[in-house]
Symmetry: C2
Subunit: 207 residues, 2 copies
DNA sequence: TATTAATCGTTACTAATTTCACGATTTGCT
DNA sequence: AGCAAATCGTGAAATTAGTAACGATTAATA
């Protein structure tokens, strides 16, 4: 059996979000073309992605919104709640702690760490901030799976090492620096500067 | 002549960042293999990317750090300073306003807008916050090229429309919602929840 | 100056991804 | 019931991206 591709997964997450919004609007049917319009993809791409999960739609009608959402979610997220550990409670870290998208049923921020004594034991949005020294112990205790690096670049490798040690299998790195980790640890780098320069370059080189 | 690919551009931006760091450490030579180690890419990939810009390296030695950085920057960024307009000064917007990476010579945050009366006329990090009503006028005046959406999802389309009207050619959308824009406007969506679920899924499906 | 070892640059190959084209299916209509 | 229209699902073609292999080049060394 063919395994699912990363790209299909990422697009499916986008589809899921769109389907949730459609459900809120009581739209119970959706065609690949409409979903393409909403998500900025193409109808063929969507049908191809969905075909991985079997025959889900009905010709002439399209897909049942709820059914499609359930199928995608069940396969991709498998009823998991993702537990997050955050390192760095500066401006960005605070924004993440307060991010409304994490109060959902799928993602739960369970631990936050910082070096600065002044920030410790405070609570933001119901999450206590602990000293970095206790991080490995606490991450294991709360069973976090994914870590977020929101510290200055000079400390990012140090934090990455801690995360690996604590058993985190995925890392989102907001620091503008490369980190090195074992091959079985997934890293997604989000460097605001690079994102902006990337978009800008694309506007320059578009045909 | 073949045109440069988006992927090459994005990787080149990563190379540039790495080269800048190497320069700070007074490293004046770098091989494709070392650069691959740092950036998490492969040496072949790097040589292939760089080959687009001509013969830059010298066999047996590698690349001159400064020369390579200059070549990449000159081609991709063309000595431009990218001017940014920010919409939404909530938690995330504030973090962006204070983001140290934007005080560089390449990126300049030039305008910030919010709906809330209470936030107007305040100044964060030297940038005044203006009412959304004045945004089209001001964006044109300061010649911003790229817009950042950091407003709640229900307002994101409205903001996107304003950005298009004001002539912005690239948009970074932090709102967890899809926006629709003309084809010649580039959009990069960064949805924290989706990024996390994506990483998590990849850890689940890794072979 | 010839030799050696390292590293670049490039062509050919392989893999992954997207797009195309079209048959199959289903519903609604007459 | 039969037909028409819409939409799915999919194998094949086309495109794009990445990898491997290796010749070409250069600097260091004996």
């Amino acid at each position: 059996m063919k395994s699912i591709s990363r790209k299909t997964i990422d697009r499916a997450l986008l589809y899921i979000r769109a389907l949730e919004n459609l459900l809120k609007e009581k739209r119970d049917k959706i065609s690949s073309l409409e979903l393409a319009d909403i998500t900025g993809s193409s109808d063929v791409q969507i049908r191809k992605d969905i075909s991985f999960f079997g025959k889900v739609g009905t010709p002439r009608i399209g897909y049942e919104t709820k059914k499609l959402k359930d199928i995608l979610e069940n396969f991709i997220l498998q009823n998991n709640v993702v537990h997050i550990a955050l390192f760095g409670v500066g401006n960005l870290g605070k924004a993440i702690l307060k991010y409304p998208g994490f109060q959902t049923d799928k993602i739960k921020l369970v631990a936050a760490f910082d070096k600065a004594k002044s920030k410790l034991l405070k609570e933001i949005n119901g999450i206590k901030i602990y000293p970095v020294e206790r991080s490995v112990e606490l991450i294991k205790k709360v069973h976090a799976e994914i870590g977020i690096i929101a510290v200055p670049p000079r400390s990012s490798q140090e934090v990455a090492d801690i995360m690996v040690k604590a058993g985190l299998k995925g890392i989102i790195n907001f620091a503008p620096s490369c980190i090195s980790v074992p091959k079985n640890t997934f890293v997604k780098n989000i460097d605001f500067s690079i994102e902006i320069l990337s978009i800008f370059s694309h506007t320059q080189f578009q045909k």
